[in-house]
Structure formats: C-alpha cells, structure tokens
C-alpha cells in the first residue's frame, strides 16, 4: 500500500480537517467562532461522502447542513446577547471529567471495532462506481422490500410539524405584552 497515493492524501487531509476543527469547535470560548469551525467540519464530511462516491448524500449534506443549519446557528447566536464575547470559563475539574469520559469511550469503542472482524465485500476494493440516481429514486419511491416510501412521507409530515411547532414556540407571548 503506497503511503502517498492520492486516496491516502485525500483521506488523511479530510480526517485532519474534521478532527482539528471539531476539537476547536467544542473548545473555543467564542461561540460565533465555534459555529464557523462547525461549518468547516460539515464541509469536510461532505467531502468524505464525495470520496466514498455518494454524490447525492454530499449534495444533501452541503445544502441542508452547511447551507441551512449553520445559518440557523449564526442567526440564533446573533439574536441572543453578547455575541463573540462569550468567555465561558470552564473549570479544570469539568474538563477533566469530560476528558476522562470521552477517552474511556474512545478506548472501549476502538477495542470493540478492531476486534469485531468485519466481513468486507470484495467488490468494494475495486474501482468504486457512483450510485445511480435512478436507484436512489426507486429506493425512496416504492413500497416493496428495500424501498422507503413510508419513512419518506413520514419525514415530510415531521418537517411540517416542525415548521408549525417552531413558529408557535418562538412567537412572542401576546398576553405577556399587555
């Protein structure tokens, strides 16, 4: 396995971006900067989906996460007070507890993952062809086995309920103003 093949370089670049900016986005004290770092992480994850040749998922990730959710975060940060100056001092004890919990979780999960012994599909090692869009459409729009029309429709109802719910929750209370 060539260490400096294009695949390796792309993968390790994306992994470094994801981990470094992910760590920065949970440790920075300024909340607006955390949103920016989160944007970089989501962007690199879209790159990872492209790397695995799932173009449609990468497009959805970019448009929904990077285009929608990060903008929502930035708006929420701008709507609440003292933006950018959020110097939340984290006590050393809390950092220690969080670090120990996270480290223990990493150790347990990695031991499990490395001992599992995945049965890899041999065709995955060959040249990866991208997913046919027609196959995605057929999988989303059918009621047979391996087809997902019901979750698709349920998610549309979920989104409608979320629109109504967030409007109701976020609107100003009229009785309080009187």
């Amino acid at each position: 396995m060539d260490l400096f093949s294009a695949n390796n370089i792309i993968f390790f670049l994306l992994a470094t971006i994801i981990l470094v900016f992910g760590f920065l986005s949970v440790t920075t004290t300024k909340i607006l900067r955390a949103a920016t770092y989160l944007f970089f992480v989501l962007f690199a994850i879209a790159g990872l989906y492209l790397f695995l040749s799932y173009e449609f998922l990468a497009a959805v990730q970019l448009s929904v996460y990077a285009g929608g959710i990060v903008v929502l975060f930035v708006f929420a940060i701008l709507l609440v007070k003292n933006l950018g100056e959020e110097t939340e001092k984290v006590s050393f004890q809390k950092k220690l507890v969080g670090g120990i919990a996270a480290f223990a979780g990493v150790v347990v999960t990695l031991i499990t993952a490395f001992n599992y012994g995945f049965i890899l599909n041999e065709t995955a090692d060959e040249a990866v062809e991208s997913v046919n869009m027609q196959a995605v459409g057929n999988a989303l729009m059918g009621v047979e086995k391996y087809q997902y029309l019901l979750p698709f429709e349920a998610s549309s109802i979920l989104l409608l309920a979320c629109i109504i719910g967030s409007v109701v929750v976020a609107q100003k209370n009229k009785e309080e103003k009187r």
Partner: protein, 103 residues
C-alpha cells in the same frame, strides 16, 4: 479504495467523543446543540462507511444517512426556537442559570 474500514471507524469514533466532550463541558445551550450536531455527523459517517464497504450493492446505509440529516435539520430548528424563547424569558442561555421550567 485501498483505505481500510478501520480508519474510517477511528475517525468517526474520535468525532463522536469530541462531541460527547463538548456536550459535557459546554455551558451554553447553543454550544451543546453544536456538540449534538458533531455526534450526529459521526454516526452518519458510520452508516455510510458500512454501506460502502460491507454492502456496496445495497442502499440501506445511504437512505439511513439521508433520514438522519432530515431529522437533524428538524431537531435543530425546533431546538433553536426553544432556545430563543428561553432567552426571551430569562435573558440568559447558560444551563446553570436556567433552573425553572415554568416562568
């Protein structure tokens, strides 16, 4: 594709527990929500990688990843509406200062 599947699992595990660390350490409600987004993305990487490496002729992990993204978008929208409402009522979004449900 000559990268072992374990490398992707190491990446998603580290990202997941970075999110868990942020969830424990952060006091700001928006910061906690960002940590949840990191956790959801790590899980999504796992779904997609298992789909690609173990069952490349099927689409199950792909569709699951799609629905996780949809549900995460809905969840974030509602959570941010709740956070703005909390801020309006208590002038603060620190979890330590939010002590009562009814106001």
């Amino acid at each position: 594709m000559n990268i072992p599947v374990e490398y992707f699992l190491v990446l998603s595990t580290l990202l997941f527990f970075i999110g868990v660390y942020g969830f424990i350490v952060r006091k700001n409600l928006i910061g906690i929500l960002m940590s949840i987004e990191l956790v959801l993305n790590a899980v999504n990487i796992n779904f997609v990688v298992f789909n690609r490496f173990l069952f490349p002729d099927k689409l199950e992990g792909f569709i699951y990843g799609l629905f996780v993204i949809i549900v995460a978008a809905a969840e974030t929208a509602v959570a941010i509406a709740i956070i703005i409402n909390v801020y309006r009522n208590m002038k603060n979004i620190d979890v330590n200062s939010i002590k009562e449900l009814k106001n």
